[in-house]
Symmetry: C2
Subunit: 662 residues, 2 copies
């Protein structure tokens, strides 16, 4: 079958040094707080947190401890994600103690691997005879995928092959078990992840079988007769999950994007994390196998998701039931699920679309998800996390109205199902992979994160240095260093939120409009050491309006500056945020955040409030419907990612417009 | 214990002849369509409806048929409610065939009664040894209550004592089983109903034990140690309902208003139907036992419910989970449960408050619930019903977003749990009980329903005739007939929605303001035959605004004319109702409804629509936030009770205000 040799679109993290004030703080948190804290959690050494038992499961499966498996059927993936995050940290800065901890853990993982390559603590400990009998519900391939990602990352970071060999053996076992032959299982995962993992393994090993296996999983998906039904019958209709009734995961095939072959799928549907994980893998496969049809499927579904079902914060998943998409333009602010992991998966999908197509619309969404929902998933202290990221919160109602049972008004320490925290850790630790995309003829800058990257074009060193104080300031400098003249193309993303980008090259003005190709300012020239690009991305405070079909946003605006979406919090604006309006002609002033918000830019504008003062005694309904009394009130907006760091209170992103003249 | 002799606040239905065009049609529907249809349903003779099996359960329990009990544990109550509705019909117009059908059914019910008086088909057939072991969950006292109400009604309607004797024997059995003595159970129902039923039985029998038993149930409620826990332990922790986990009804005591003694309860809480049924009984008890403390409890909870947690349509129950209240000012329009039965129970509670306190605020809410939510519960064809009565519906989202799983965009034929349809039937058939309240010194008119009532003051005949075309027209005539001068007080309710009522007596203008006492125009005089009151209740189209704390209604108005709340439907206004605005200065014109809405007054006003035309291709978000393009559009409002009679489509009650000058 035709496929191109792997193109390493990702620059190894070792070649990227992040110097950005905004991101260094997060990377410090990941290294000094999140990863050590999560290691304690995985080892059940956090006093006031839910037990994890994840490491203990491995000890038991390895025969090094007695006991029973405890936790989710996918508990192994927490360990894998932690290892992957550690790999990214080690790639950036050696840490002998951390590395030896990781190496010992890797040996433990290896000790769990069976002779045939199988590796999963749940089934090894609890149901050794039931391997591969419940793909729809039991996450074996999902856990394998995360382990494979960790193996690839750890090899890339340390050059050590031990974990890579373990996961390659696991992948080989899987490719023996699954496939078109009669003796093989014709199935595919209930929770996608193995697909994108196998493609990463393919990139580092060049083993075609991994690409072929990915393609098999992708092309089998949704075919008839349905594999989930076949295995369900075969195992005597046992079911692992009963959340919405027995075998609901088997029956609701759209939940796993297995209701139709992907070629026939036309809209984002089902469990949001599954959706973006699946199509991240499909996009990666489409690129490396130059599969035009799959590329079109990815584009079509990307457009439906981002142009019909995505929140302004780059969040996806409009409903709690099934942690799922809803339908076009159904974007409730308060009952949304909008899981942190879903926005991380959205970034993964976006990055792979970007590697396939140099089109800034993918990077625009990637940046939106990163600076808003993904960052909001973690408290500024690095120790508390959100799964659910609503755009409107009313704490009192959360206590009494069960439509809000999934919503937390403040971040929690740890979770029994701990998918999000380690996902944030590995995302932040691997940020370099999202900043730049390597192209055969050069490189694109997707994210403006101050950093230094050393890459090569035609084997010649090419060093690019970004400087700036993004996302707070609009002035960016890009310096080039290379040995002698180097012909290459440098792409600079022109963000969707920026109306009038300006640029100079060595002091000479450039015409971004003229030089723009699909949202990137493309500079194709013979680069010299000392070349300097000054890029200015003016970030006036912008009012965002939504499509007229979004009934929850009629008459409202959201506030954005640069890549940051802002919100109103009770801490600054008092309660009853629904009674506040922003006049269309109000202008904004930038102010410096204080206390826990120090270093962040807040926004203020002269607004109005309906029915000020105490009105508890007023009747519930009035039949004269007086024009509401309104008073002037200064409105203070804080970056959405920093909300709920000052205790419990109301929050909302979308605020009522006050048309001029009122 | 001190108690006053029963005061018959309710005038027997035989003495009330409804002549009102609006209501005669509904009473015709009940007699010719609803009651016959429900008889077929109870006998499982409706082809395309869910089975009921309710009558068959009685046959099996009576030993007249073989088989197993089928249906809800409270299936008996459907039969009782049907019998009660039939009684009201027979009271109005004799019907030999219907009466003999009812008599045969009553004999069947009698055949199910055990020697000791016990009567319940579920326990008799399925768990004879488990009687009275699960009050929290199993509705025995609830079913008994409905049977008692039927017995009282059938006796009042026909003078026949058979069913009254059956239910009296049942009530006597219950009063033997429950009480303070050591050998008695110290429990009370999980679903209130027996309380108000026993009070009705007390009124027709003057048996003090029924009032004492009611008081025992009411005063035991919520005491510690908690009876639900005691019986739960005693029966080995078995549980009948698992909707929200095992024994959730036992654990969530607020769901049954059993979390605290009623004297300590301060807000409407839990299952909305349970709440209003309970306090209807408490109010009845408070009146007849002249219990000031219970009267205050009723007033306090009434005020919380109607001034913090009631929808403009007289609907209650803000959430689907537990079909329950939420918290103060949490009134979502689209996810509300707002059960038809809850508004019927609200009318029952209101009527008893009114009998205790001649204050129009109770009648105002009673009228609001009746003309809006209760009537909306039944289709204009009398054959389709709503359980859930939202104030905003978006059919497309209902299909995909599970927060709407309880919402139906159009009425259904019948339900497995069929509480609402027979409840509507008995309410409409007994409407006379709500129109008038008899007082020792005269009578109050609560509802303006054209009718003729023959009552007595000091044993002297006093006949009052209402004429008019309410709720469509504001002109009412009340004619008096009596034998010789008759000193009496006639109270005419001055509705909360009416700013300037006008009245004349025999052509002489009256001053409503001066003569008004707690919302009733009180005329205390020596009445003569031929006295005529002309009452005008101007009903301009009114904009209703909500309390500023209701975040779902900020910047919105509802439209009301007379007692009718109006709504926008897609059928008249196109889709995307959220893009419509009503200018503050727009005036309304009245138009005649056509087709299925013939005979109803619709409203029209010049409004505006944002973003008209097809905009499917527009981006989901725009960063320039243009002032929305808006065009003029005629808005058509239909009475809320008549919505969804023209197929599936969007509907909303609250519409965005467009401030003058925009």
């Amino acid at each position: 079958m035709p496929y191109s040799p792997p193109e390493m679109a990702e620059v190894p993290l070792q070649q990227i040094a992040i110097t950005d004030a905004f991101w260094l703080e997060y990377q410090r948190l990941v290294k000094e707080v999140v990863v050590p804290y999560q290691w304690l959690a995985l080892n059940d050494q956090v006093a006031d947190a839910e037990p994890s038992h994840a490491i203990e499961n491995f000890r038991i499966a390895a025969g090094q401890a007695d006991g029973e498996f405890y936790g989710m059927v996918f508990q192994d993936s927490d360990v894998a994600k932690w290892l992957e995050a550690v790999a990214y940290l080690l790639a950036k800065s050696p840490d002998a103690e951390l590395e030896s901890t990781a190496d010992r853990l890797i040996e433990l993982v290896g000790a769990v691997q069976q002779a045939d390559g199988y590796l999963n603590t749940y089934f090894t400990v609890r149901e050794p005879q039931q391997r591969w009998t419940n793909l729809a519900e039991c996450h074996e391939l999902y856990c394998a995928g995360h382990l494979i990602e960790a193996g690839v990352a750890y090899y890339q970071a340390t050059g050590k092959k031990r974990l890579l060999q373990i996961v390659s053996k696991l992948a080989d076992h899987i490719s023996d078990v699954f496939g078109p032959d009669e003796h093989q299982l014709h199935g595919y995962p209930g929770h996608p992840e193995i697909e994108l993992a196998l493609m990463r393994l393919y990139e580092v090993t060049s083993e075609a079988r991994y690409l072929l296996l990915t393609r098999y999983f992708v092309e089998q998906r949704g075919s008839s007769p349905h594999f989930y039904d076949i295995e369900y019958e075969k195992r005597g209709k046992t079911s692992h999950w009963h959340t919405y009734g027995p075998a609901w995961m088997v029956k609701d095939k759209a939940y796993s994007q297995a209701h139709l072959p992907i070629a026939l799928q036309t809209s984002a549907i089902g469990h949001a994390v599954r959706f973006v994980y699946l199509y991240a893998g499909v996009a990666h496969l489409a690129r490396l196998s130059q599969d035009q049809e799959k590329r079109e499927v990815c584009r079509r579904l990307w457009d439906n998701m981002t142009q019909r079902q995505m929140y302004i914060t780059g969040a996806i998943g409009s409903q709690s039931s099934g942690e799922a998409f809803s339908c076009d333009y159904d974007l409730p602010n308060d009952t949304a699920y909008t899981e942190t992991c879903a926005s991380i998966g959205l970034m993964m999908f976006a990055n792979r679309m970007l590697q396939m197509d140099a089109d800034s619309r993918y990077a625009d969404v990637m940046e939106r998800a990163l600076y808003n929902t993904v960052l909001a998933g973690m408290a500024l202290d690095g120790k508390h996390f959100f799964y659910v990221n609503p755009l409107e919160v009313h704490p009192q109602s959360i206590k009494f109205n069960h439509i809000y049972d999934h919503v937390k008004p403040v971040r929690q320490r740890w979770f029994g199902c701990a998918c999000c925290p380690p996902n944030i850790a590995r995302l932040l630790a691997s940020l370099g992979h999202y900043i730049y995309t390597q192209r055969p003829d050069g490189m694109d800058i997707n994210l403006y994160v101050a950093s230094e990257i050393v890459t090569a074009v035609d084997g010649k060193r090419w060093q690019v240095t970004q400087r700036g104080n993004y996302p707070w300031q609009d002035q960016l400098t890009i310096d080039i260093d290379c040995d002698g003249p180097l012909p290459a193309t440098l792409g600079l993303r022109l963000p969707d939120w920026c109306a009038q980008p300006q640029a100079t090259l060595n002091g000479q003005p450039l015409d971004p409009a003229a030089l723009s190709q699909r949202g990137y300012l493309r500079l194709n020239r013979r680069w010299q050491a000392g070349d300097r690009i000054e890029l200015q991305l003016p970030m006036p405070v912008t009012r965002v309006s939504a499509h007229p079909r979004v009934r929850h946003l009629a008459g409202k605006v959201a506030i954005q500056r640069g890549p940051l979406v802002y919100c109103l919090e009770q801490a600054d604006n008092g309660s009853e945020l629904h009674n506040l309006q922003l006049p269309d002609d109000a202008s904004f002033t930038l102010i410096a955040g204080r206390g826990v918000l120090a270093g962040k830019t807040l926004l203020q504008a002269a607004g109005t409030r309906y029915a000020p003062g105490d009105h508890g005694g007023q009747p519930l309904y009035r039949f004269d419907a007086p024009a509401p009394v309104s008073s002037r009130q200064k409105l203070t907006f804080v970056p959405y990612f920093s909300w709920a760091n000052r205790g419990e209170g109301e929050m909302r992103v979308w605020i009522d417009r006050r048309p001029s003249g009122n």
